[in-house]
């Protein structure tokens, strides 16, 4: 069962500002959907080794990208953000 506290925590992790009505309906929806996932418990996955999973990340070199549109928070050269510390 999903609690109100869980929803607050998840919204925090996901950086989503939600009002009370949205949170209430999410409790109901997530409970319902997670209930549907229960069937996966019976799947016989004993033989499967997840380290052999075919989908792997292939990274490119970390290079500056000048093609990004800095519309509202910068001057085209850099992005301006609020103080973090």
């Amino acid at each position: 069962m999903i609690s109100r506290e869980d929803i607050d925590n998840l919204a925090n992790l996901a950086r989503l500002a939600l009002d009370d009505a949205q949170k209430e309906s999410l409790i109901k929806d997530l409970d319902n959907i997670l209930g549907y996932f229960e069937q996966l418990k019976e799947a016989r996955v004993g033989e499967v080794k997840t380290e052999n999973y075919l989908a792997i990340n292939v990274m490119r070199a970390d290079e500056a990208n000048t093609g990004v549109e800095f519309r509202q928070n910068g001057n085209g050269q850099y992005i301006r953000v609020k103080k973090i510390l």
Binding site: R15, A17, L18, I33, L40, A43, Y53, V68
Partner: protein, 464 residues
């Protein structure tokens, strides 16, 4: 008009791209206010057409010269808005062309406009668009399917000759089925995703819509192939010389056709297969015991990946921005106010299945089950050429019928998600109408990079 016919007429000098686009624009003006298939019709469509005509007069003969196409709103065309039907990107202008767009441009295609979709491709009805739902051209009180509902409706209603969409769990095939057109989801990696907005990166594919199999095939042949900008892309094996008259063995996973399927859909499925059997193809029962877990598996992996992919929409680099009193509040308010209900639901679900304490029970398990499904597909394709399923368990439903219950909406994806989980190519083919006049779709899966077999069975079905 179909693409192949338009090309023939243009080559013979009987039709100009300008005339073709003029006719389409007139029809769009008349039909689009009702259907809402296009979010924007490009003001320079006629200019593009005239340029194509001029090129043809100068002796150019490109494979799609002067052919007007519609593009799903999550595929970037440099300089134009790409909103993914979200308030978040309502005014975002793409700064470059997606690889598929670059390839279509090089082939001479012109772009009529960008089509409506479920926000960030999350949905199966196009009702999750921030800019109003798309209506089904066969009955405007019903959904067009989704998430590429605008592209499917545009092609079905004759508002474009062909279109591109994206398919993460059925988003090309299901609207193609609901609107009565051909929809292809290529093999994972067959088409570059560079420049399509990422939703679930291990599942997403770009594919084509056409009124005929040959049109969908023609578009696929232009956009396919390795791209240095997408590390998951691959070159297709060079032309697989299949004899077009070869008879195929088609497997039917009977154990998966049990629950929740509309009787009319099932009856149509049987009749369509019987027709294929009559012309010499073999129908056989196959057993894919793990297929029953596919939907649950998909609805864990997809939101998990989507929740991380959508982290980039934070108001800092592009898109909407809502100022708060801290950087955290900037993020949370921008995202809270500009994402729609379904997008927020999937972000929350994805965050949950990836969070500490639940990761192994949900995400880890889903990844393991996905491998079981992949292994069963590999084994099955050693015995059969194709796997057949209906595209969707129902035909197009009335607008609003499923919006209150997200799980009911998810269950509509039951026959399409296995192809994405296994990474195999799949096609939805029109196969008649139900008693209310709504189109049915017949779906086939083929082994990796065997799109040729899908086109072959498609042509066979068109002939019967």
């Amino acid at each position: 008009m179909i693409i192949i016919e338009a090309l023939k007429k243009m080559k013979a000098g009987e039709l100009s791209s300008e005339k073709l686009v003029q006719d389409l624009l007139a029809k769009i003006e008349q039909e689009n206010p009702k259907l809402n298939a296009y979010l924007e019709v490009f003001a320079d469509a006629l200019k593009q057409a005239r340029a194509a005509d001029k090129a043809r007069q100068a002796g150019e003969d490109l494979p799609l010269l002067g052919i007007p196409l519609a593009i799903k709103d999550n595929i970037l065309i440099g300089g134009r808005i790409a909103s993914a039907a979200s308030k978040m990107l309502e005014n975002y202008h793409a700064s470059y062309d997606a690889t598929v767009i670059k390839r279509l441009k090089a082939a001479g295609a012109i772009f009529l406009g960008r089509t409506n979709m479920d926000e960030f491709a999350m949905g199966g009805s196009t009702e999750n668009s921030a800019f109003g739902s798309t209506k089904n051209p066969h009955d405007s009180t019903r959904v067009a399917g989704g998430s590429s509902g605008g592209s499917a409706a545009a092609v079905a209603a004759g508002l474009a000759l062909g279109a591109l969409g994206s398919d993460t769990g059925g988003s090309i095939r299901q609207p193609a089925s609901f609107c009565g057109v051909v929809g292809l989801k290529p093999t994972y990696g067959a088409v570059s995703r560079f420049g399509v907005m990422a939703m679930a990166s291990s599942l997403d594919q770009i594919g084509s819509f056409g009124r005929t199999v040959a049109d969908a095939e023609l578009l696929f042949n232009i956009i396919k192939g390795k791209d240095a900008l997408d590390s998951t892309s691959a070159e297709l094996p060079s032309t697989l010389s299949v004899d077009g008259t070869k008879k195929l063995t088609i497997g039917v996973p009977e154990n998966y056709l049990i629950t929740g399927i509309n009787p009319e859909v099932l009856a149509n499925f049987r009749v369509s297969l019987a027709k294929l059997e009559q012309v010499g193809h073999t129908i056989t029962t196959i057993n894919l015991p793990s297929l029953k877990y596919a939907l649950a598996c998909y609805y864990i992996i997809m939101p998990a990946e989507a929740s991380t992919n959508l982290a980039r929409y934070d108001g800092v680099r592009y898109g909407a921005y809502e100022a708060g009193d801290s950087l955290f509040a900037d993020y949370a308010q921008t995202r809270g106010r500009n994402f729609g209900v379904e997008v927020k639901r999937r972000i929350m679900l994805g965050t949950y299945v990836l969070s500490a304490g639940y990761y192994d029970a949900y995400y880890g398990r889903a990844v393991a089950v996905r491998q079981l499904i992949q292994a069963e597909f590999a084994k099955t394709f050693a015995q059969v050429d194709l796997i057949a399923l209906p595209t969707a368990p129902t035909t197009a439903w009335p607008i609003g019928e499923k919006t209150a219950d997200p799980l009911q909406m998810y269950l509509e994806d039951i026959f399409t998600v296995p192809a994405n989980l296994a990474g195999v190519p799949a096609i939805s083919l029109p196969s008649g109408r139900d008693s209310a006049g709504l189109p049915f779709g017949l779906q086939f899966f083929a082994p990796h990079f065997r799109e040729d077999l899908l086109f072959m069975i498609g042509r066979s079905l068109e002939e019967v």
